[in-house]
Amino acid sequence: MEIKDKVGWSVSEMAQNVARDIPDGSYVNLGIGMPEMVAGFIPEGREVIYHTENGLLGMGAVAFPGTEDPELVNAGKKYVTAIPGAAYFHHADSFAMIRGGHIDICVLGAYQISEEGDLANWSTGEADDIPAVGGAMDLVAGVETIFVITKHTTKTGEPKIIKDCTYPLTGKNVVSCIYTDLAIIDVKDKKLVVRKLAPGVSFEELQQQTGAVLYPNP
């Protein structure tokens, strides 16, 4: 290692790790927040089409300041653009794409992920929480490949990858791969298999910060 003190991946590197796993020609839906960064790191030579569930296929970059159109937004209600070759459609058509299995990959954030690939990312289940689900449940139920991008632990250092989710589920057995600042972990046959460790992170250290059993890449 050249940079001795570097431990783990930056957010950009995490996004880059996800982007590398998105094949040329994929139809991709990016969740709100960190997942949106993935679009900036698609390797050269690949063309990826972005779907935003509020009704646009062929979403382009975020709109330049001064060119924003309040009627051209993404699922996070950010002002965006559309590429040549885009298409607009209504919500029932948009979720037919999702539910019907036409989106190849969806990248989402997470509160918790279980060792069997259950995902909790819509509610903390707290009493005064205003429940709001949006399209998260439709996406995990309808899209074949769900990538999760998340810090490995919470702000207070609690593991987010745990044996069973304690927060209300978004979906059961839905996550294909978890991209954290510490590792890339595949969910294979209801087991968590570490595909790659971040710089300066050992398998044992990773296991310590994880609330479920990890398996090394065979």
């Binding site: 159109d69 309040p70 009627e71 607009y88 209504h90 919500h91 029932a92 429940p131 439709d138």
Partner: protein, 238 residues
Amino acid sequence: MINKVFHTAAEAVADVFNGATVMISGFGEAGSPVELIHALVDRGARNLTIVSNNAGSGHVGLAALIENRQVSKIICSFPRTLISVVFPELYRSGGIELELVPQGTLAERIRAGGAGIPAFYTRTSVGTPLAEGKEEREFGNQHFVMEKAIQADFALVKCQTADRYGNLVYNKTARNFGPVMCMAAKTTIVQAKKIVEPGEIDPECVVTPGIFVKRVVEISNPADESKLVAEERRYPWK
């Protein structure tokens, strides 16, 4: 002659009654029929059930309708936004009922309501708290829940261009829930930025055919909701 054009938003919503179910288009501010909603605030109909993806921002539009205590229940996928204060407060104090529905299930339940389909099955929400109380069923070894159609007495919808038959086209992602809501309401009331002559909308590009629309009213300069919210405006205007 068929002429669905109304002259004012007030006339267009004049028969919305207490206890009505009202669908309201929009995904955040995009496609939200702010002028029709404000006319409904003026109209004062109470005890409404609202079907809408969000629950309003600031103190205008849908938030104003809720703040005016006209809404007893909302069927919604995402009532929480960065600048929503009205709904969360009322919800926490028990002043409004919430039926939370996944976004795609909400859209499909509304389409089903318009398409004569009383119920359908979807994988969405299986294994989650939102599947509680719903019939589950297997098809081909996969689990599904049964979801029922949603219909409404009225739909308030915003579009870009309309004609006197009620044919509509929308603008970009402001299309969102408009087309399915037009289908699912007994009386669909639309505000259009522009009303044109029949034939000016290309028949290949009509998004909502006029059969789904009862009334159109031209609102050529609709409010920019996010601006109103940023300026902390309140409806009724003070």
